[in-house]
Symmetry: C2
Subunit: 435 residues, 2 copies
């Protein structure tokens, strides 16, 4: 008998799911505040949806097969191709800008990465139909607000932001040829991981010799908006080219979020479909771990879906955030507590327990009771194990008098409450909000 999930797949027990739902709740709440609406798509898609975007080499990283109808299909590794199809199919139905988000589970089969997950959940937020820097700022602000919503400040989460138009202009100003740009981007992207010597060799391999190679690496080390603008002063139309980055940065300052933001020219984002602002969110303490990555991709929807609309967005996975939350609090959040456990003193009290439990549940209170006859002490023990905030004993005397004792399970204090009042005034629940 098979007794385990497949390698890289997770069985999510209630404590895991509670933490995940907490993250999903913040993703949804922040999206709603920014006017974004949720959409969804199929976890299984035609394989060509992905090869059309990423080429045949993507197939090696996918779960793909032929279905019983002879179709080549794949478990989705990303949402953007689905998004492109959905927007293209009904573009005229939606007022621009389109503000959509989704929380899909994504799948990758990578042979070499033993022990690593092959599925994860990813929050995708995209703003479609608006090319300006305020749209970029809007999306970056939403990413920051997610982290703020989870309790992280600028001391623990950093945004690194660059602009592909800026780095391109600076690289070409430094003498890099158009066809060498890919190699130059790759070196810029590695500036914090590899030595300058190694990168100089790599650039030389791509035909970028010294002193141009030195200039490329110097550009990759530029930090801060002022320094970027200073470098742009040396380039034709440099001021104009810097406007997008400047305005996006300024908008984040107006929103009070700029203390999270570092302009950092080493941020390239590997995927070559980005056309403007690019950004990543990092754990400030272990800066290699990206929490989120995104940027502007103005040509991609046309290439994928045949619809010519500018777009900006990001993807944010559940795994790094979960690790951050667990490491911060020391322990995962516990599943939601029960509000009250009803104790039947004798078997003839069960009908009243059933009636009352349902009346309380009907006003949103979380209730349990023993599903078989048990001693009062045993029932109270279960109430405690289940983390119930209160216990109420119902016996013949209580039914006779119409009053029950409400026991606070944390403090042991007790209070007399008329049964009829239990559903009217929830003070006995100890400050729990009325549902």
């Amino acid at each position: 008998m098979q007794s385990k999930a497949l390698p890289g797949f997770r069985d999510l027990y209630p404590a895991d799911t509670a933490l995940l739902q907490k993250i999903f709740d913040v993703w949804r709440a922040v999206s709603a505040r920014y006017g974004f609406e949720e959409y969804g798509g199929p976890p299984l898609e035609p394989l060509e949806l992905y090869t059309a975007k990423s080429g045949e080499e993507i197939v090696g990283q996918l779960y793909h097969f032929e279905d019983k109808g002879g179709r080549a299909v794949a478990l989705r590794p990303e949402m953007t191709p689905t998004l492109a199809r959905m927007v293209a199919a009904k573009a005229s139905d939606f007022k621009k800008p389109i503000r959509w988000y989704t929380i899909p589970q994504l799948f990758r089969y990578e042979r070499q990465q033993r022990g690593r997950l092959r599925e994860h959940f990813q929050f995708n937020l995209d703003l479609i139909g608006e090319p300006g820097p305020l749209a970029d700022a809007e999306v970056i602000a939403a990413a920051i607000d997610v982290m703020r919503g989870l309790g992280f400040g600028p001391e623990s989460v950093r945004v690194r932001m660059s602009d592909r138009r800026v780095i391109r202009a600076l690289l070409m100003g430094a003498g890099v040829e158009e066809e060498q740009l890919g190699a130059a981007y790759a070196a810029v992207d590695k500036i914090e991981r590899d030595s300058r010597d190694a990168l100089t060799d790599r650039l030389k391999g791509a035909g970028i010799e010294r002193p141009i190679a030195d200039r490329v690496l110097d550009l990759a080390e530029i930090r801060g908006l002022e320094s970027v603008l200073g470098a742009l002063d040396e380039v034709t139309d440099g001021e104009l080219i810097g406007d997008g980055l400047t305005e996006c940065h300024g908008a984040l300052a107006n929103m009070g979020l700029v203390e999270f933001v570092d302009v950092d020219l080493s941020i390239v984002r590997g995927l070559d479909y980005y056309t403007g602002i690019v950004f990543e969110l990092f754990d400030a303490n272990r800066s290699v771990r990206a929490i989120c990555g995104g940027g502007r991709y103005d040509d991609l929807l046309r290439a994928l879906g045949g619809i010519d609309l500018p777009a900006v967005g990001f993807g944010m996975g559940d795994v790094v955030i979960t690790e951050l939350l667990r490491s911060r609090s020391g322990a995962p959040s516990t599943p939601s507590r029960l509000d009250v456990y009803l104790v039947a003193v004798t078997s003839s009290d069960v009908p009243e327990v059933l009636r009352l439990s349902h009346a309380l549940r009907d006003i949103g209170i979380r209730v349990e009771y023993a599903l078989k006859q048990q001693a009062v002490a045993k029932q109270l023990k279960i109430a405690s194990v289940r983390g119930s905030g209160r216990a109420i004993l119902i016996g013949p005397d209580e039914r006779e008098s119409g009053e029950v004792v409400v026991r606070n399970m944390d403090t042991g204090t007790e209070e007399q409450v008329p049964i009829t009042a239990l559903t009217e005034d929830l003070a006995w629940l100890g400050g729990r909000e009325t549902p």
Copy 2:
């Protein structure tokens, strides 16, 4: 270029997703009130997880393939085998009864059913470790409360409830042999769809001749608890055998839910692993459509997961509920409205719009504003298209005076509010609850 989802898979636009999330919210809220915790599992599982339960014939209905590691895998068609594995792996970690629920997306590839969905979402709620009728009642009550939470009363939703122990005892009392029980169950199950003549022929084919066949069909037509108990009076140990059904029915009466319930001996549930109470929820107006089905399956967890625990639960899909909600209201629910649209009168007002938008979002208000310079009339038009409840104009005069006009987009009425007061007292939002 591929421009469509696979046959049987849904692209879920925001209006679809909003309706689905509304259903999920009710599933989660009712589960929480009953003390159930959410869990999750992999959408891709070892194929043998399903063949072990349902035999090789299930393979014809699955999306299955060999992964790159040579494993036979399948997209999950149901959650129970995953649940059995998860409970078996950590049974001692959880206090019994275990109350768990999940909302997986499930997959079936059925060649013949063109136009039908091949994926759906299914709410699964299971109570594990308690064999008594109060546990059955608990689970049925949760199913009813979901429908009540969605606005359906006993005039539109019916529970049909039976007990496999009861029908078995009655069938054997009528002269059906042990090895004929499967054929008898199949005839009982079909009593409302097929003619008595056809069913009599079918029973004859299984070796059940008249007058036993007549008695089988008469049993299938018994409705109401009293009639069932009357029939049981004729059978050895009949009263004892009827206790479970009687107690479960009584508990639902104590909870005030019995007006939803019809005892109906034709309810068998095709799956032969049910061992006690079985039930289905139906749309009262089109009774062929089951909203939900479930029951007690005391032997299955041992067979699947090697852990000997009694269990009762149900599965409830999203598709029939969605149809019911759409047909009731005439139109699907609209995605959530925006609370306020901020209008910048001139480009120099944008910084204040950005500052204020973020301050409002930070207290949970849903805000949008124009992401490029546009005429005030155009911005107000977008505010209206986006369904914003309020619009606030911010121009040089407003920044100077520190007061803004809040326009109610539904009524056209306007109100002067100090900018500093916008985030302090939310009366200007028109009764929206403070987040």
